[in-house]
Symmetry: C2
């Protein structure tokens, strides 16, 4: 296995697709997963065991998990919202789960239809059982860098939520900048506060959205603060399906390109990753907002010609 100093956690099949109104065929999803699985990625979040009526795009999770290709060194993850989801995930044979709670109570209620306290209480049980069953657990803290309803979210609130998740047994805390409100200084301040509170850097991940264009700069700030695990969605799929071209998840290719250029190996083959992004554009029938994969596709364009400055 290649040496890697940065881990890319790929979320396109779950976070990237969950808002897509047109449901993809299972075979198409598996083709995407197959393409991603052959890039050198170590972690791939493939689906969510939510109520099928809630996220129709991911209603096929049981069938999908049953058909996942086995690839050495690659771990598949599935999001589970509650105990019923965990039971389904275990039954399907998933080895690693993620959970989600919002740092902001308003966002938690709008998004998950419960108070933050209720969600946390439920997760205590879910995480404990998952650990008892030998599953790996990562827990997302959404709106960790700002809430679209409440605005700024106090760092102390995020720290409290993260400490509870750690105490429940979550192996990794993924800080979600759900609507891209973070900036380099808020990222740095949050990471420092979490480390001060006793959560080691190697248990933190950054899940950044590019809504306002800052995602990769925020990743750089996180890297400088010591974080080495970053979520990405191939080609930048995700975001709001009602705003064509609006940016959602940070594109995995852009993350990999930047870190590799900086001399920080990711273990991911960038050409194959961009090819997976092009496949996904074909499957969805539209261009996706990532930068690197678009540049890689424009091979007929003589870079530098008529570029005056």
């Amino acid at each position: 296995m290649k040496r890697r100093s940065v881990r890319i956690y790929e979320v396109a099949p779950r976070d990237g697709l969950q808002n897509e109104p047109e449901v993809l065929d299972l075979d198409d999803k598996l083709a995407l997963i197959e393409a991603l699985a052959r890039t050198g990625l170590t972690d791939l979040e493939v689906t969510s065991f939510v109520r099928p009526s809630w996220v129709p795009q991911l209603a096929d999770s049981d069938h999908l998990v049953a058909r996942l290709p086995r690839v050495p060194g690659l771990r598949y993850w599935a999001l589970v919202p509650n105990m019923r989801g965990l039971e389904r995930a275990i039954e399907a044979g998933v080895g690693a789960i993620s959970t989600v709670v919002s740092a902001s109570d308003t966002h938690n209620r709008k998004n998950l239809n419960r108070t933050r306290a209720e969600t946390l209480a439920a997760q205590a049980e879910v995480i404990r059982l998952a650990r008892d069953e030998g599953l790996a657990v990562r827990s997302y803290v959404s709106t960790a860098l700002g809430c679209p309803y409440e605005g700024e979210v106090p760092v102390s609130t995020v720290v409290d939520v993260a400490l509870r998740l750690r105490d429940f047994g979550a192996g990794e805390i993924a800080l979600g900048d759900t609507t891209g409100m973070g900036h380099p200084r808020s990222v740095r301040a949050l990471v420092a506060a979490l480390v001060d509170a006793g959560i080691p850097l190697e248990r933190l991940a950054l899940h950044l959205h590019d809504t306002r264009g800052t995602a990769l700069a925020n990743a750089l700030a996180g890297f400088e603060a010591g974080v080495r695990s970053f979520d990405g969605a191939v080609a930048g799929v995700g975001g709001c399906p009602y705003a064509e071209g609006a940016a959602g998840n940070l594109a995995s290719e852009d993350l990999v390109y930047m870190f590799e250029a900086m001399g920080e190996p990711t273990g991911v083959d960038l050409d194959r990753l961009a090819a997976a992004g092009h496949l996904l554009e074909d499957l969805l029938g539209r261009p996706l907002p990532g930068r690197y994969h678009r540049w890689a596709a424009a091979s007929t364009c003589e870079a530098g010609e008529s570029c005056i400055a």
Copy 2:
């Protein structure tokens, strides 16, 4: 005037439009410039005094300069490629000019049809005369962070070119990442080398392209290295017109958003800037690749809804 710690140098009317195959009406260009001029920007590069046959989009530079709105605190710049261009610029009444040379000889020959040495020799005269006439001068060094033909460009080469331009009398050196090959570490290394060589930070600017998605992260790295002047093009206009949606210039809104969020005032009204970006999209009849202005336009999208993590 507002306190500002970061200067945004807006290049959309020149660098953003120069590759647009469809020539905009003079009135439309003036409407864009008017919108940009009312945002609080201090510096706006509006056109280029090149041979009309070479860049048809900018063939109206004399007429355009004659009709520029006077706005207190705002300086208009025009690119001049040679002595003939400088004469036209002076005749038109421009008070500030920019020049361009590539750090890479191959790029200089392909782009300007001369060797780098020939271009530099010509610029010695252009810059000297401009200074004698009391004009402000900034000089672009293109391909300062990589060349699409030669690959990596040695830092020592960029330093040599920058020192010569400084000695000719250029007040500001704008480091151009012409095809977006820079990364945070190369930006930092280049800035440090230039400062070591005797060019003070306040005479450096970064002109970053977002071809591979790294432009804003590179701006952050430049800021951390002490640079306080950044070029942007509203809505991210520019780039290669043959690759729809491909990213070109770093979007000014994204720059302003990040710095303002970090608590570093730019003096630019972000709402008005995004409105100028929307105007430009209307004029060109297509969406442009910047992030912030797209998000700002998607006001009907309830941020946070169905955003699971």
